[in-house]
Structure formats: C-alpha cells, structure tokens
C-alpha cells in the first residue's frame, strides 16, 4: 500500500496518521450537514425510433444509466468524463430541462423530477445554470440589461419592477463588469466578458446551486483563470454550491472539493479531489489522468502514460457487465458477466487510506499516475 502525502500537508509525508486525519476530518465535516441535493439512480434513455408513419422504438441511447451523488451547501462537485459520457445530460436533468426516465433528484428532501407547474418554478429559482458557449447562450438582440434582468420577469418576487435596473447594475459590478455597460449588446463584449454576463444572469435570482456546464472551455487560457477566480470568489461571497462539469481535469481539480468520474452514463469513481487525483482506484480514472498533458517536461518524464486503445462504445449498445471492460487492460471474464457497483472496494473497506472511496471496479487498486507525491 503506498501511502503518500496530501498536497495540503507535504510535511507529513513520513507519517501515515496525519494524512488519514485530514481525510477523516473532511469526511466528518461533510457528513454533519444535510446534502442540499441528493441524486439517486438517475436514468435518462433517449428512444431510438424507426419508421415514419408508424414509429416503433427499436432501442434507446442510454445517456445516463443510474447515477447517484450528493451535493452539500457551499461545496463544488466536479464531474469529468469524455464527450458522450452523459455529463451534460445530468446537468439538464438536474435543471428539469429533460424529463428523467427513472430515478430521483431530491432538493432539500423534495423530489424535483416529479414536480411540475408552480412547484417546479419555485425550485428552479434556486438552481441556475451557466452554459458553455458564451457566444450562443446570449440573445444577440437583447441588451445586457435585458439579458440579466430577464429572470426577474419570470420571478417578479425577487426584484420589484422599480428596483430591477439597480439590481442588474449591482450584478454587473459583482461579476467585474462596468455597470455603465447595461445598454450594450453581447457582440460588443469579448468571450470572457460574455461569460461574466452569463454568470451574472445565473446569479440574478440568488440561487443556492449553480450548474456550470463547461463554463471556461470556450475561453482563451489567459481569460480562463480570470473567470475561474471570479467563480471561486462568488462561491465564498454567496455560499453557492457548484456542480462543475468539464473535460479539463486540471481545472476541475483546481475548483472542486469532490470529483465524480463518469464513463458511458455511469459514475466510475467518486471522492474528494485528493482521493481521485492522487489515489485513483478505477482503471478508467487512472487512464484519464495519465493522458492529461502536464505543462512541465521534467514531470512528464517521471509519469507513466496509459494509452487506451479504441473509442468509447456507443451508449445505444453498451457492453455487458462493466462498461469500461472493452478498453480496460485488467478486464477478465467476471467483468463481462457481473456489473461492478459503485461502492467502497472491499479490500480498502477496513483500512484507513485515501484509496477508501467509492469506485465501480472489481479489481480496484491504487495507482499514482499524476506523480504528485
């Protein structure tokens, strides 16, 4: 068992005990609080049909196929995975933009997948979204003031009519834009500024949860850091909970408290950022991490690279058993027959180690691929 230090406490590398304490303290802190959002066995299948007059269902794209996680107040949960793994569909389900096929999403104990009408509208006020592409997610024919103020038309109780302009100016100020820009149009802004407008719109209704779907992937490197810093500042200021969906593993690590790794509609592994990045136990997480190019030629030479063969299988026809087995170097007969459940692997259940976190693999085993130690 390799016991390596957490980055927060590099001095403790020699002793095992302090490391475990840190991890336990963090876990205890989270367990104390009631999660603000509980997702249980969420499923979304998109039907595949054949025929023009008489439509028959011939199958389904299993975009999300049984995903469970919790989100606590003030926490950032990162969700990573390759394109097509279902991470954006999860975002849409949480927003009730798509109807779930099965499963529940509890917001403060209330299942929002069953809500409609007024009750749904009330919940949506508290869950807002920031979209990926700041170029297409803002209406080019509306002024910035109208874009940010539009949520108030739908939820007039948040800001009375006379107050709105003042509120919008405040919001512009909060996200670091000049309040005098209120009458400008989106095309007059750069990509980073537009994403700030998108964030201001997300904040307008004082939500508790913001779901960010690839919020910085369309931005230039030097502007990405500005937006990430802004999001972290806003989280502290307003005690926001983020679900941060991205394919850039370095950014997810930077901003997240906990990270979930998705593969083909399922959660492969979930844990704190140190557990996932420094003590990954699922082979997919290990491969994903090892493939990330690190901007440091010295570090690169000490890293082992796992290059996966092939592509992600089609979600319309996922492999039996473990979905990763077709690309996995550890796959055995058992993996094809028996689907591994997302749970703490039995071999780590009794041991105090950062490897003790939920991982959906029959042969879960620790491996440091990032070379952080």
């Amino acid at each position: 068992m390799s016991e390596s230090s957490l980055p927060k406490d590099p001095g403790a590398a020699a002793a095992d005990a302090p490391v475990v304490e840190v991890a336990e303290a963090a876990a205890a802190k989270l367990a104390d609080r009631e999660p603000i959002l509980q997702v249980r066995n969420l499923v979304k299948h998109f039907p595949l049909t054949q025929g023009i007059v008489v439509k028959r269902q011939i199958g389904a794209v299993k975009a999300v196929d049984g995903v469970s996680f919790d989100l606590h107040a003030g926490e950032t949960l990162g969700i990573v995975g390759e394109s097509g793994c279902g991470k954006s569909t999860v975002a849409k389900l949480l927003m009730s933009l798509e109807q779930a096929t099965a499963g529940e999403v509890f917001y403060k104990g209330q299942d929002i997948t069953k809500l409609s009408g007024r009750a749904l509208k009330a919940v949506r006020r508290n869950i807002q979204m920031v979209f990926q592409d700041p170029y297409t997610s803002l209406n080019p024919r509306m002024t910035v003031g109208d874009i940010i103020g539009e949520p108030f038309d739908i939820h007039p109780e948040v800001a009375p009519k006379g107050d709105r302009r003042k509120r919008v100016e405040e919001l512009l100020d909060v996200v670091g834009l000049n309040p005098e820009y209120i009458n400008r149009y989106p095309h007059q802004f750069s990509g980073g500024q537009r994403q700030r407008i998108g964030i201001a719109r997300g904040l307008a209704l004082n939500p508790e949860i913001i779901i960010c779907d690839e919020p910085v992937s369309a931005l230039d490197v030097s502007v990405q850091a500005q937006v990430i810093n802004l999001m972290e500042k806003l989280q502290d200021e307003f005690n926001l909970s983020y679900i941060f969906i991205a394919h850039d593993l370095s950014i997810v690590r930077h901003i997240s408290d906990r990270v979930g790794v998705m593969y083909l509609g399922k959660m492969a592994e979930i844990g704190t950022d140190a557990e996932i990045y420094e003590h990954p136990t699922h082979p997919y997480t290990q491969a994903l991490l090892s493939a990330v190019p690190v901007p440091d030629p010295e570090a690169r030479e000490h890293r082992e690279r796992i290059i996966l063969s092939g592509d992600v299988p089609s979600p319309a026809n996922p492999p039996s058993g473990c979905r990763f087995r077709t690309r996995c170097w550890k796959a055995e007969a058992r993996c094809a027959e028996e689907e591994p459940l997302l749970a703490i692997p039995t071999r780590f259940a009794e041991v105090d180690t950062p490897a003790r976190h939920e991982s959906a693999c029959h042969f879960a085993e620790e491996k440091d691929v990032v070379g952080a130690a």
Partner: protein, 349 residues
C-alpha cells in the same frame, strides 16, 4: 522593425539551410473597419525531423502565419505585405499559383483542427484520400483506393478495408482526425503543419493522436509545425517553442527551458495561469485585461497594457527579440528581470 535575430537553433543543417525559413513575415487583413495587422514580422525556422510548437491565444496570428506558409490565405481580405517564406531553398512568395499548387499537398501539408468540417460529407473517405493520388500522381481510381487503404492502415484505423467506403460522419472524432492525418501524409511531404490537431478531442483520444503524429514524424523525418494554445500538449512533443502575441513572436526557446524559466512576462503569465493536475494550488494567477484588438494594437510592446513590469519605455519602443542565451530570445525590454525573478517559484518543481 528591428527584429531579425537568428532564431534557428541549428544553423547550416543539411543542404546549408533549414527546411523552412520564415523571414520577417507581415500579413494584414484589409477590412471595412480598417487594416488588421495579424502578423507583424514573424521569423521562425524548422529543420527536417524537428517539431516547432507555435503557441498563442486566439488572434495572436499563429494560424494566419500557417495559412501564409501554405498559401491558403483568404485573399482578399488577407495580404502578405512583406517577408520571405523559404521552403527547400525557394521563396514560396515568388512562385506562380501553379507552381505553388504543386508544392502544396505534395511537399508540405496541413492538418486542420475540426476534422468534421474539413472533410467532404458527401464523399466517402476512400475517395477523399484517393483524390490525393489521382490529382497529384495520376493514378487510376482503383489504384488510388488501394493506396487509401494502405494509408488508413498506416494511421492505425482498424478494419481499413471495410471502412474505406464509410463516410466521415460514420467515424468518431479521433478516427476522423486520423483520416486527416492520413490525407496530409499521403504524398509523404517534408513538412506538416498541424493547426490545433487535438483541440476538439477528448484527452484519451488526444494522447493516441499525438502519439501517432510523433511516430509518423520520426519514421519519415518530417518537419512539424504544431500550432496550439495548450501548454501541456507542447511540453510532450515539441523540440522548440515560439510564443506569439498580437502577431509577433515574443519568445523562442527549446522546450525544456521555457517551462523552468520563461523569459517573457506573457509566457510567464500563461504558465502561472493554468491549474496543475498534480498540485492543488491557491488562487490562480490571472493575466489582467484582454488580448488586443488587431485593428488597434497598442504602441510600443503590444503586451504593455497587461504587463506587470511595464514602464514608460514599453509604451513607446517596440522591443526587439533580445538574445537570452545561444538558442533563446525574448522580445521584452526587461527580460533579465523576468528570468531572474522566476528563480524562486521554479524551485518547487
């Protein structure tokens, strides 16, 4: 503009010169709003078997330079106003359209970022790959198809024989990019320009594609210009790096040195502003402000409004490329301070 410091690391290689030598290249776009100076005096060179990474943000001129080299600049509005592009001893800018067409594809080829929109959706990939041979080499369609299968095998597309009749939309992103690479490789060019070849791909596939590209380059001893904004990809494959900002090269360096000790405040800012996978840092360093509008590039050093070290001289005088060491150069009046004040944080590696 006084910017001609010799940049090639290996002077006088085979046949007395590098494979490609770009000298003082200027490109401008004449638009209705005014003249956008996209490239303002770029010098770089690539030897056979060497990988040059050109790093920059959108609007830095990295892709426009590549288009000028390939001779595929949209003209009008784009015009090469000055400079030389010497490829295998001949100045490409002096060739006729017909001569240039013979070079393009056969001697130098390009791989584009977005494979789906670069491939023709109504032709199967076999026809598109075969076109290279029917047009340039005069092969029959049947021979061309056999060549296409061979190429697809070379870029490790499984079941090439069956897939040669498939259409681009039937391929995954990574496989499509392999088709693009196969197309660029078809006539065994001496130089390949890859413009953000893996930006649209997932990390696991990105690693496969970069590996393939590096293997092919080694096998055929090609020169490779890799255009990217990803500092991570660069670290893995490049021999040397040229960092571009507002149409100029602001720093050139062998790959190892630039990460340990950047010599330009822009490079340093970029390196500090990316989160690291193996360290959970505190707040990210953010370069303030925005990249400049090419219609109104700031006077003096184009980076001065965003630079923490900017002094009066930076607002008036364009910094030349100062020689930092034998094979490094930086276009910063205060490069000594940049290299110097970096020594402390560099310890942590």
């Amino acid at each position: 503009m006084a910017t001609s410091v010799e940049l090639s690391t290996e002077e006088g290689g085979t046949e007395g010169g590098p494979l490609l030598d770009v000298r003082n290249l200027h490109v401008e776009f004449r638009t209705r709003e005014g003249v956008a100076r996209a490239v303002n005096g770029v010098d770089y060179s690539v030897d056979a078997g060497e990988t040059l990474a050109v790093l920059g943000e959108s609007g830095s001129g990295k892709s426009v330079t590549a288009q000028a080299i390939m001779g595929i600049l949209d003209s009008p509005p784009g015009f090469v106003t000055q400079g030389k592009i010497i490829f295998q001893g001949r100045d490409m800018l002096k060739l006729s359209g017909e001569e240039r067409r013979k070079v393009r594809g056969a001697r130098m080829a390009m791989i584009f970022q977005d494979a789906l929109s670069s491939l023709n959706p109504v032709l199967n990939v076999g026809e598109q790959l075969g076109e290279m041979f029917t047009v340039h080499r005069g092969l029959s369609r049947k021979q061309a198809r056999a060549k296409a299968v061979e190429l697809m095998e070379r870029v490790r597309i499984p079941a090439a024989k069956e897939r040669v009749r498939s259409y681009p939309h039937q391929f995954s992103g990574g496989m499509r990019q392999r088709v693009m690479i196969a197309m660029a490789m078809a006539l065994e060019p001496e130089l390949i320009i890859a413009d953000e070849p893996t930006t649209a791909l997932d990390v696991t596939v990105q690693a496969q594609v970069m590996d393939l590209l590096a293997d092919l380059q080694r096998e055929y001893n090609m020169g490779l210009i890799l255009i990217t904004h990803d500092l991570g990809v660069v670290a893995d494959v490049a021999d040397k790096i040229a960092v571009m900002y507002a149409g100029r090269i602001v720093e050139t360096s062998p790959v190892h040195d630039i990460y340990a000790k950047p010599a330009h405040p822009y490079t340093k800012g970029l390196l500090d502003s990316i989160p690291r996978l193996d360290q959970k840092g505190q707040e990210l360093y953010a370069i303030k402000g925005l990249p400049p509008n090419l219609l109104h590039i700031p006077p003096g050093c184009a980076f001065n409004p965003r630079c923490p070290l900017a002094q009066d001289v930076c607002r008036t005088e364009v910094p030349p490329l100062y020689r930092v060491s034998r094979d490094r150069a930086s276009a910063c009046h205060f490069w000594k301070e940049v290299v110097g004040d970096d020594s402390a944080p560099a310890d942590k590696a």
